[in-house]
């Protein structure tokens, strides 16, 4: 009797483990997993071009991850991209005049948002907007500019000089 029960317990555990693995695979490693959890607050930033930025792409300060991209949407009236960032609650002291830039890790790597802290005394709060932004640099447009001679019509050129030192 006890042996029979231990078989049944083992079978039950095995089936539970299998379904737990299936549930984990289905909810955590697929497109179902795209909600960020954990205590975080959201900031907004507008970009004229987000390039290849993806949901859940990292948000970094000084190369250290502090949050992730929550939503990317097109603002219907201004026709620019509104990106919502979910920032970890621990980093709630970002100065008001911080700047956000869409950067690329490596030459062909993935894009992420780098935040360059400003110097204002007031901190950004939940729902605030980062006013100073720098769009994604479109590599093919840069190449086009240098090849053709720089008359590409462009909101998208990246304006490398506008945000001080954001690429560092």
């Amino acid at each position: 009797m006890t042996q029979r029960q231990s078989f049944q317990i083992g079978t039950g555990l095995f089936i539970l483990l299998g379904f737990a693995a299936l549930g984990y695979l289905a909810t955590q490693t697929t497109s179902l997993a795209n909600f960020e959890q954990g205590p975080s607050y959201s900031l907004k930033a507008r970009f004229t071009n987000v390039g290849q930025l993806k949901l859940r792409a990292p948000v970094k300060i000084a190369g250290v991850r502090i949050g992730s991209v929550a939503t990317i949407a097109l603002e219907p009236d201004k026709l620019d991209a509104l990106v919502t960032l979910a920032i970890d609650k621990r980093f709630s002291q970002l100065p008001e005049d911080s700047a956000a830039a869409i950067l690329t890790s490596g030459l062909l790597g993935d894009q992420y948002i780098g935040i360059q802290p400003g110097g204002a005394p007031d901190a950004l709060r939940d729902g605030d907007e980062l006013v100073l932004t720098q769009s994604a640099i479109q590599l093919e447009e840069l190449i086009g500019k240098y090849l053709v001679g720089g008359n590409t019509p462009g909101k998208t050129g990246g304006e490398p000089g506008k945000t001080p030192d954001a690429a560092k």
């Binding site: 079978t11 299998g18 795209n34 993806k54 859940r56 990292p58 991850r65 992730s68 790597g109």
Partner: protein, 256 residues
């Protein structure tokens, strides 16, 4: 070479095997309703072929994931695309490696033991004794093992996949220094539940059914000698591996 009259040629023997296996499959299906009386036996078999295979499946899944992480990291770094590591590992595991490697391991770990067990029952006339007692060996011995393979394989493949992802994460993120968020964000952006995860589950269920069918068939039709059981066990592994890989191609073409 011409076959001697009265003895089937090698081709004829192979065709006869396939035909007998197909008929055996039909008779298992016919015995399935009757085998529902022996649900406890089925759950015992799920324990034997499933739960007892967990250790080897988990270990192999972990190492396959780690090797994938290492190999793909170095290959992708040539193109500056290491960010895609999570995606590539997940897709190759869910779609191909998980179901196929699990099926091969399952054939070696569980298929052989099924064949040997049923083969010895045949060699020691236990199956004939069951028939004498009006117990249908197809319903009591074969069908529960077939069902157990069908149930256990998808679960084992899921465990294999999960451990594989864990191994790739271990190598890619903890060891080689890939960003944790990049690893997961690329994976979750490109892997789909129905297209990838569930397709892999269907595949592994098909493989589980095929491996269990071959194992039970080889055991059931073995020559009733110790040599016959040895040959049957070998054939289980060989045929299961061939059929799994061939079926994988067909299923991939259909499920794509």
């Amino acid at each position: 070479m011409k076959a001697k009259p009265g003895r089937p040629s090698a081709l004829g023997a192979a065709l006869a095997q396939i035909g007998a296996c197909g008929l055996f499959f039909v008779s298992i299906l016919a015995a399935l309703p009757r085998s529902l009386r022996y649900l406890r036996e089925t759950s015992r078999q799920v324990y034997f072929v499933g739960a007892m295979s967990l250790v080897i499946i988990m270990t192999c899944g972990l190492f396959v994931g780690m090797v994938l992480g290492l190999q793909l990291y170095h290959t992708l770094s040539i193109f500056g695309g290491t960010a895609a590591l999570g995606t590539v590992v997940a897709l190759s595991l869910y779609r191909e490696l998980g179901p196929v490697v699990t099926a091969l391991l399952f054939a070696g770990r569980a298929g052989t033991s099924i064949t040997a067990e049923i083969g010895l029952m045949r060699a020691t006339d236990q199956l004939a004794a069951m028939e004498m007692m009006a117990v249908d060996p197809l319903a009591y011995v074969v069908a529960p093992r077939f069902l157990a393979g069908l149930i256990a394989m998808p679960l084992l493949a899921c465990v294999f996949n999960a451990l594989g992802i864990f191994g790739a994460h271990l190598v890619g993120v903890s060891w080689l220094g890939l960003d944790n968020g990049t690893f997961w964000s690329n994976m979750t952006a490109n892997v789909e539940v129905w297209g990838d995860v569930v397709n892999g589950v269907w595949k592994s269920a098909a493989f589980g059914g095929v491996v269990a069918l071959i194992a039970t068939f080889q055991g059931y039709t073995t020559a009733p000698t110790s040599e016959g059981v040895a040959y049957a066990t070998t054939r289980t592994v060989v045929f299961s591996s061939i059929v799994t890989l061939a079926l994988d191609f067909v299923l991939t073409a259909f499920l794509m």
